[in-house]
Amino acid sequence: MIVKLLMGTILLTQILLVIAMAFATFRVLRGPRAQDRVLGMDTLYVTATMLLLTFGIRTGSILYFEAALIIALLGFVSTAALAKFLMRGEVIE
């Protein structure tokens, strides 16, 4: 009973998160401008972090947490670099 409840909830959570990622991907693909695409990428990183955490709960493994941490870290760096690029036309001056 409890296992069924948890499995069903985790599956539903993952489906909702994948739909959210699909919306963000649509924003990345359709623009209309560069800053919208960067915003979509940032949302995609956050949602991917959450999806990996739910994978971790599902399998009971700590390994997924580390992947989620790395995605969150790289998401920050890449969004900051892209915003700098949009502002100045260069990342490292």
């Binding site: 909702l16 956050v46 959450m50 709960i57 969150a72 949009l86």
Partner: protein, 116 residues
């Protein structure tokens, strides 16, 4: 899924509620990202997911693993701290970059400057 059977009922229900809350909030945020009209409206929407959404899911993960292994597992606080620190920085950088680009192009989408 043997490890799921070792979880007591209260922890399972709490984990399920937290997971669903986080996912639904994230979905609402991305619907806003999809449907709002201008960039300055859209930049607000996904923060629903990157604050409360990921917060709920991190709480669910902390609760689940702490109960599963009968000791406090709080390394999810790393992601929490990272998100709390980085989300405002990235979105402010991005909004300022967009404002700069729109102003130099003379776009009429730019919100007016503060009055005082």
């Amino acid at each position: 899924m043997t490890h799921l059977a070792e979880i007591p009922a209260w922890a399972a229900v709490l984990t399920a509620v937290l997971l669903l809350t986080g996912a639904v909030l994230t979905l609402i945020g991305t619907v806003g990202l999809l449907r709002f009209d201008s960039f300055y409206q859209r930049v607000h929407a996904p923060t629903l997911g990157s604050t409360l959404g990921i917060g709920c899911i991190l709480l669910a993960s902390m609760l689940f693993f702490s109960v599963l292994e009968s000791r406090a597992i709080i390394h999810e606080l790393l992601i929490t701290a990272l998100m709390v620190v980085t989300t405002p920085i990235t979105l402010m950088l991005l909004a300022r970059a967009a404002l700069y680009r729109d102003r130099t192009e003379g776009s009429d989408e730019v919100p007016p400057p503060p009055s005082d």
